[in-house]
Symmetry: C2
Subunit: 168 residues, 2 copies
DNA sequence: TGCAACTACTTGCGTACGCAACCTTCGCGG
DNA sequence: CCGCGAAGGTTGCGTACGCAAGTAGTTGCA
């Protein structure tokens, strides 16, 4: 749309130049960055989504999490997580264990092989994040970004399942 | 792709707290923000992707663009764009016109109805972007974000089709 | 104790998208 | 002109995911 302020019923406060730069920049950077990170991780046979699953599990006590909690952390729907795990289980990186506490619950558990894969991939991924993201920015910018994302995230907070708020 | 460092990795430079905050914040904000904007736009019967198509067309001379150029601007694959247009064409918001210059080319053209839909949706969308994004941040933050995204985008530049670099 | 309501997960179905294969058309060297 | 490679677009196929419905198990409440 043109940044034209013509007659429009209510009150469309169009974006000024800086706002537009921030917004368009956001939109386009997100797409490009996601694609680049995915490509960087491909040699390890993992998609970003897979990697995120492994990270969350490796962070968890006993290297395992309830499906529901994991879905919350990953912002995936239950069915989405089920099927993502299908792939990881088939690859032997994760296994499903029924919970003894609550027999409705399935625990996703990182296998030895999964941990090994993650351990191999993590340094490369971190390096990828650095080269694509952090290295391009000054310390000040990184600090401002961290603060800004924190604000944005807080204002978008929803919450699902019975997942306890995820720290960090 | 990346510097090969395997086998007794020479100290992967892990992320410190600020870096991690920026990165995790980015990851989680992107997901939440995208979902929120999509939801805000749903009442107009448009997905964000549809909206983006309409915006690009409305910006173009004659309200039309070659498929290939449009795909470049939207970072969509040719087939992805074909099918997204299918939906918009079926909805009467866009029409396909064969180019008279080059008979390989299809021109996507914004219809009167498409322009009308965009005109109705745009103020709401802008308001959505404001309330979810810009209003949460200070002017300084917005400026820093704009600059940061600009740097990131520049370092990720690829280019596709014969699309001329898209300004702004 | 018994049943209704809720929770955790899975499955069926629909959508969005990328890749590869496939036409058509263009442009170029002979 | 012919042939050939390249470019623009569409279609077939596979993957990822969300929603709604279904199943199994649990909890609350009388």
């Amino acid at each position: 749309m043109k940044t034209e302020t013509r007659r429009t019923p209510p009150e469309p406060r169009w974006l000024d130049d800086v706002e537009m730069a921030a917004w368009r920049g956001y939109i386009e950077t997100v797409a490009a960055l996601g694609a680049a990170l995915d490509a960087d991780l491909a040699p390890h046979g993992l998609a970003i989504g897979d990697y995120e699953v492994l990270v969350r599990l490796s962070d968890a006590p006993g290297h395992q999490l309830r499906m529901c909690d994991l879905a919350g952390k990953l912002r995936l729907s239950p069915s989405g997580l089920t099927r993502r795990l299908d792939g990881l289980v088939k690859g032997g990186l994760v296994q499903r264990d029924p919970s003894s506490d609550d027999r409705r619950v399935m625990l996703a558990t990182l296998t030895e092989r999964g941990l090994q894969t993650l351990t191999q991939a993590a340094p490369d991924h971190v390096e990828s994040v650095r080269s694509r993201f952090l290295d391009q920015l000054s310390l000040t910018e990184i600090e401002v970004l961290a603060g800004a994302f924190n604000k944005l995230r807080a204002s978008l907070e929803t919450g699902s399942c019975s997942a306890p708020r995820d720290p960090q």
